[in-house]
């Protein structure tokens, strides 16, 4: 599979936006500047970049908890996402959502639901809404492998297939739900097999191969836009982060995914092999992105905390809660 040279360079940049964002975020988290919990998208840059490039602003997407960089690629200014993760007034949700709940309807970001997998059900409604409104937009729901144990996961696939809803299922299979291997807790390690049983097109792709991930996503999106109903893509990948910060996976597995089958390294080799760009220009892309991310971090650090009135704002539509 091949793709246009300029597109490949764009995707390379996108992937580095994700990595650089997460590197910076992890650093600030360790410094105590980012409250709460942190789940990074490190190692999953190719699949996230592939999904982001295939969506448009009138689509809806539900990100998962490792999609910080993807939220920026979708079109929200990076500083607004960064500030949200720092819990600041300037964040996209005024600091009320944080890493797990950053939504921005202007770019189609319908927000993560930290009861992971619950948005499998919500995506049905967005898809149904689009269908009833005769729009050719789609609802993309990004979920990890662990969510396939949830009832809503299966309820969603069944109903989307029954009602032929425009839903793109992006199942990011990184091998583990926290510490439990997919195969140890599911009837199959290949989750697309579940989707096949629900009578929809379902494929598995190497989620660390940016070209394959992009092309597969594109085919899925085109099929949905052509009115063929839902489509399921399982992206096989691997996350760098262990259990929160600890590591439990075998050394050989770690070496394979972080050194050999590493998405940005693979993309870089493809670009160099095909003579699309040289080392210096790829390094320049990285440096530009890194500088931009540092600006976002500075913005977040310097931003004020939210107005105390925000603590009780927007609980209900149309009236305020009592504050005494």
């Amino acid at each position: 599979m091949t793709i246009d040279s300029d597109l490949l360079l764009d995707l390379y940049r996108d992937m580095w936006v994700i990595r650089s964002f997460e590197f910076g975020l992890e650093r600030e988290f360790k410094r105590g500047n980012v409250p709460g919990m942190l789940h990074t998208g490190l190692g999953q840059e190719a699949v996230q970049a592939a999904i982001a490039r295939n969506l448009r602003h009138t689509d809806a997407f539900f990100p998962d908890h490792r999609c910080h960089g993807l939220l920026v690629l979708a079109g929200t200014p990076g500083e607004k996402i960064m500030a949200e993760l720092f819990g600041k007034a300037t964040g996209i949700c005024s600091g009320k959502g944080g890493s797990l709940h950053s939504a921005d309807p202007k770019v189609g970001n319908f927000g993560d639901n930290a009861i992971e997998g619950s948005m499998m059900a919500t995506a049905l409604g967005v898809g149904l809404g689009f269908q009833l409104q005769s729009r050719d937009d789609l609802a993309a729901v990004i979920v990890g492998d662990g969510t396939s144990g949830r009832g809503e996961w299966h309820e969603s696939l069944n109903l989307a297939a029954t009602w032929k809803l425009p839903v793109l299922y992006c199942c990011i299979n990184n091998g583990y739900a926290i510490s439990t291997a997919v195969g140890a807790s599911h009837a199959t390690e290949n989750l697309y097999e579940f989707a096949l049983a629900y009578k929809m097109p379902a494929v598995q792709v190497d989620g660390n191969d940016i070209v394959a991930a992009y092309q597969t996503t594109r085919e899925a999106v085109e099929s949905i836009r052509n009115g063929n109903g839902p489509y399921f893509v399982e992206y096989k990948t691997w996350r760098w982060q262990g259990i929160f910060s600890g590591e439990f996976r075998p050394p050989e597995e770690i070496r394979y995914w972080k050194e050999e089958h590493e998405p940005i390294k693979m993309a870089r080799e493809t670009i160099l092999d095909q003579g699309i760009a040289d080392e210096a220009s790829l390094d320049k892309i990285k440096a530009e992105v890194d500088a931009e991310v540092e600006n976002w971090i500075r913005f977040a650090l310097e931003s004020p905390p939210p107005d105390p009135a925000k603590a009780t704002a927007n609980v209900y539509v149309g009236w305020e809660v009592e504050t005494q």
């Binding site: 809806a60 949700c93 309807p105 967005v126 309820e155 704002a313 539509v317």
Partner: protein, 328 residues
Amino acid sequence: MTTTKRMSMVQALNSALDIMLNENDKVFLLGEDIGHMGGDFGVTRGLFKKYGAERVRDTPLSEAAIIGTAIGAAMVGMRPVPEIMFADFLGTCYDQIVNNGAKMHYMFDGQFKSPIVIRTAAGGGFGGGPHHSQSVEGWFMNVPGLVIVGPANPYDAKGLLITSIEDDNPILFLEHKALYRKKAEVPLDKYTIPLRKAAIVRQGADVTVVASMKMVDEALAAAVELEADGVSVEVVDLRTLRPWDQETVLESVARTGRAVVANEAPKMGGLGADVSATISEELFSKLKAPVLRVAGLDAPIPFSLPLEKIILPDKDDIKQAVQRTLDY
């Protein structure tokens, strides 16, 4: 002059849905057997034929997907009215209601709304057993962002349902099964009844009974009997159970100086606990007696009718509680 018709609560609810489906093409219904069958209790009867399968949707037994679908559709501008056949089944979609629908407007700081109206059949008294009889408002009292409505008569049922569908908040709309066949004169045209506004359904001077849903009828029956004994009972129908109308309740109890709070759900941690605690907090110095609660016992609801009668509160329990506040 507005034309009225004597109709049951089922027919009044059906009329509300008919009006809203007809008036607003964003409104659609979904749920189990609500389509050509017209719902377990007939609330959606005839609507499938009139508005079609797209807007009156039969679903599989996937309650979480029903509510998730409603929320997602609401996020893109639709006005879904999902039905959960029995309130007891809300446990299977609790997460969608509590963590998704009710919190969305807040956690995304106003960028999304979730205007859904979840209709469901609640309450006992007919031998439905442990899984078809419960009053579930207590399960949801502790959920910021959620509105709970529970009408006590056909007129309110229609007006409150129309208002709920037009409101921008997620609403749990409880329909007491024992009231479904209750009849009253109901206008055929559209009308609304405000949310968060209780109604004084009987005026009195000695004791205020704050009731909801079926307990309103029980309270009114108790009031008639107590009147023969020379006791004047005021009855307040909450209508919106969460957030409930403190102003009306407190104004009434401030006048009478005595309060009984009647609710069918178990006493512990229920609606009655919140209402009575608030009355005590706000009106301590004006109270002539402790605020008493009439509620279900701390037990599941058994199948056998004589046993069920022991668990659920009724008119006689309310009469006794009123008498206790007078005897204090």
